[in-house]
């Protein structure tokens, strides 16, 4: 290994490396697209989870399919956060970055993924290459990195790989994986097993050459890197699985007995269909790729009308196209699970990036009044379990249920306890017993708005479903009183559902100076930020809402116990202190908007739309700013009391 800071970082000749014990570390692997940094990162995460570490991985995705080589826009890779306890979010700056060229590394620097002291392992071949321009770029970058205070280690990755394979572009990732395994003391046997799983279809030769590369990277690191990191792990007692949110959704679909999934490809929801394509039919399901988003939901509604439990999976623009059919499903009371993997908007926005921009669209984005259930999982494990909840609620309440996940959950990987599928999770088989002709197809219960539904094939239940205003018999109704009643019956379902919900649990003390309210994937980062501030004595707590429609009960009462309430979300809001914005004109983030309307509490908000998950450090900073404001106010009040006294 050569190093840009020659003196301090030269390998010691001593075979005993210095071991640093840390409670957690953030590692990134970045490369040009196609060099396999994604795969290496995911395997590193899986192996770390197997060793008993908490893990959260985040995909670093280029905006283009085949971006130009050595370009900042082209960075592809993975961030892996490993910790002694559970990892619940992507964290702040990276501790270690492996970069296959300096240009892709710049894209990480540009988004603030590095800090002074971050250790960089950088492919050294660019300094020796024929192309003068590249050599110069590389040299300049090294100088720049030194100025920024990074600790750079140049690593001859390509040269070492060439000893094993002819084309190092395919294989450098495995060598790097081996290097990281040595650095973090990972069990190489586990890596070998992952390689066998991953490349099973490619044959023995590929498996063998990848293993050799891993071993070579490992051996090289042992000889050349003078330090090690130890992240103490606790082996889990129960069996665990590792997967990303889209995989969890796909497995949840299978475990809930959903029988038809109909969707149209859209980033970042599409991969749900890939996982289903691999095994859905073995669980008795059918995956339909429709000609468009509208058809996708229409197909699912048709299947549901015919008694099958159906789901559709989409993202923002797809949700927009589906809204007319969602309105029909509400009107005609068709059970349906709609998974929305949110991405950056508006319009086609940021297709591969994260945002929580579909909350209000989910609640209101159809013609007229469309009461429906909206829930949001806040972890990858919840992505699995919420599908089962959604399926049950859709059937019980005879309504569409929207499950809001996002790109952060969709592509992040996390270990969790292996779910044991239960028979009661599966949708019951069709009951084709004859229908009592005296019972209306919409025999709304006045208390709950609930009704049973006849299914084609049930003798005596023949009715004509319609999107027009209709009475209990589904007869098209022109009388105004009937429409009023039907609307209240559909709406009543939400009130009935809310009665069955528990008030949400506050994370931290049940009262204090500030309550941070969030929903969905931001939970881990918010709770981590709250923990950090509380460790310094700050009186802050947080709350994660899983039910957005209906809202969980008791919110106004909880809010009253805090001096300030604010939401933290990844969607747009005007900043309260923006001089161009008045108190009256200020636009609030989506949950804040909803909570203000529902609780009549002056809920504030802080939101950003950077296209990336919100790092806990940034939330922490905002919490401190608010608390300082609170302190200043208190100080002022105390002064007033004194002067008055």
């Amino acid at each position: 290994m050569t190093s840009s800071h020659a003196a301090s970082s030269q390998p010691s000749s001593s075979p005993e490396p210095r071991v640093e014990r840390v409670s957690e570390h953030i590692v990134e692997i970045v490369s040009d697209s196609g060099e396999g940094a994604q795969t290496a990162g995911q395997m590193f995460g899986t192996v770390s989870a197997r060793m008993g570490n908490g893990v959260w991985t985040v995909e670093i995705i280029p905006a283009e399919i085949e971006p130009p080589f050595r370009s900042r826009a082209g960075a592809s890779g993975n961030r892996i956060r490993i910790s002694s306890g559970a990892a619940t979010n992507m964290g702040d700056e990276a501790d270690v970055v492996v970069a296959l060229n300096e240009q892709v590394l710049y894209s990480r620097i540009d988004v603030g993924a590095l800090r002074r002291g971050t250790i960089i392992f950088l492919e050294s071949k660019w300094g020796e290459i024929d192309d003068e321009k590249i050599r110069r770029e590389y040299r300049e970058a090294l100088e720049d990195f030194e100025k920024r205070g990074y600790r750079v280690f140049e690593v001859p990755m390509e040269r070492e790989c060439l000893k094993i394979v002819r084309d190092p572009r395919r294989g450098k990732n495995m060598w790097v994986l081996g290097m990281l395994c040595a650095l973090y003391g990972r069990n190489v046997e586990f890596v070998h097993e992952e390689i066998r799983k991953k490349f099973a279809r490619k044959g023995e030769q590929v498996i063998e050459s990848n293993r050799k590369l891993v071993d070579a990277g490992y051996a090289w690191a042992q000889q050349n890197i003078p330090f090690r990191f130890e992240v103490p792990a606790q082996p889990a007692e129960k069996p665990r699985v590792v997967m990303n949110g889209n995989q969890a959704v796909a497995l949840g679909i299978m475990a809930s007995g959903i029988e038809v999934v109909s969707m149209y490809p859209i980033t970042p929801a599409t991969s749900v269909s890939h996982y289903l394509a691999a095994s859905f039919d073995k669980a008795g399901g059918f995956l339909h790729q429709a000609e468009d988003e509208i058809s996708a939901i229409g197909f699912a509604i048709g299947a549901s009308y015919a008694g099958k439990v159906a789901a559709t999976v989409t993202s923002g623009p797809g949700l927009a196209l589906k809204t007319e059919f969602i309105g029909l499903a509400v009107m005609a009371e068709i059970p349906l699970v709609i998974v929305v993997v949110q991405r950056g908007g508006p319009s086609t926005g940021l297709p591969t990036r994260v945002e929580q921009g579909e909350l209000l669209a989910s609640l209101f984005g159809s013609p007229g009044d469309v009461p429906k259930v909206v829930i949001a999982p806040s972890s990858i494990e919840e992505c699995f379990h919420f599908i089962i909840t959604a399926r049950t609620l859709a059937e019980k309440f005879r309504t569409p249920v929207i499950v809001l996940t996002d790109a952060n959950l969709a592509t992040g990987q996390q270990p969790f306890t292996r779910p044991e599928v239960r028979p009661e999770w599966l949708a019951p088989p069709l009951d084709m017993a004859p229908w009592d002709r005296n019972v209306a197809p919409y025999d709304w219960d006045r208390e709950t708005g609930l009704s049973r539904r006849p299914i084609p094939g049930q003798r005596g239940g023949e009715y004509v479903l319609t999107g027009l205003a209709h009475d209990r018999w589904s007869h098209v109704a022109y009388e105004s009183a009937i429409n009023q009643e039907a609307m209240s019956m559909r709406s009543r379902k939400l009130a009935a559902l809310q009665r069955t919900l528990k008030p949400p649990k506050v994370y931290g003390d049940p009262e204090g100076d500030l309550l941070v309210v969030g929903w969905g994937s931001t939970r881990g980062a918010i709770e981590e930020a709250v923990d950090r501030v509380r460790a310094d004595g700050g009186r802050v707590s947080s709350l994660t809402l899983r039910f957005l429609s209906p809202l969980e009960p008791g919110l106004a009462e909880i809010f009253r116990r805090f001096k300030q309430v604010m939401t933290v979300e990844i969607n747009y809001s005007d900043d309260g202190d923006d001089p161009a914005v008045t108190r009256e004109s200020r636009r609030f983030s989506q949950l804040a908007w909803l909570l203000r309307a529902k609780t009549l509490v002056d809920v504030d908000c802080w939101s950003r739309v950077p296209g990336t998950p919100l790092p806990p450090g940034r939330i922490e900073k905002e919490i401190r700013r608010r608390l300082d404001g609170e302190k200043a106010v208190r100080h002022e009040e105390a002064k007033n009391v004194r002067t008055q006294g």
Partner: protein, 317 residues
Amino acid sequence: MYGLKDDWELEPRARRFVLEDYQGATPRWCPGCGDHAILNALQRLARDEQLPPEKTVVVSGIGCSSRLPHYMKTYGFHGLHGRPLPVACGVRSRRPDLNIFVITGDGDCCAIGTAHWIHAIRYNMKMTVMMFDNNIYGLTKMQSSPTTPKKHFSFTHPGGAPLSPINPLAVTLGVRNLSFLAQTIDWNPPHLYATLRAAHKHEGLAFVRILQRCPHFMPEIWTRLQEDPQLVMLLEHPEGIQLEDAAKRLFKRRREHDPHDLAAAHEIVNDESVVPIGLIYKNENAERYDAFSSRGIEMTTEEKLAAAQQAIDRFLI
């Protein structure tokens, strides 16, 4: 699993359905509207075939024609403008036991629903699709539809429709994997009935374009055809739509046409001097998507559970 099937039923005595068993609400179409004739033909077909009402689903979009499910006494789905076909395909996907009829209009099918029309033909799932073509938007009161003749007056084209109409037969014929295409007229009940019957018997998606009279907004459009028998050409073939000799005599022009002959079918639908009536194309070997989509519907709860467990195990660490 053992014992009764999920959809078991005990039939104490054979049921015999009469026309009233298929008659729902009183139709509210205008007097003289061709829809009445089509509704009667469909009810007769259901009666003659003894289709159990509970096993029959009529799916429609929006428009005058799409009110039809309300006038049947079977299961019905009166959904969104242009979208009956995705819904019908979804119904069919896991329910091979149902008889599915799709009602759509020229605006519903050939304008807002064009993508679904083409893809449903490609999917070829067993159902009878009846496109009521009156060349005008009726429910919204006389706007040009995609099949409105060139220069014809409407409220959206007071100077006359500027473009030539779409040819629904040619478009349908152009879709790969087409299985059944026929054309009929609402004012000839025997042919209308025979066509719907052949479509219903067909194993696959049967697309039937029905030239349908709208006396209110399009009074003159088909009278030309009714008055000049030379304008209508009956397609005849042993594998086509079969008519009684007496009914055949009403058609002055006839042509022998093998419905398996795609090239001849193209020639027929592109000849604008004459309106072909009968079976235009048939392919019994077209791939059927419902054969694929209904796999595994007999799977037991235990099998489903085991498969879900296995899928989860792939992610074990």
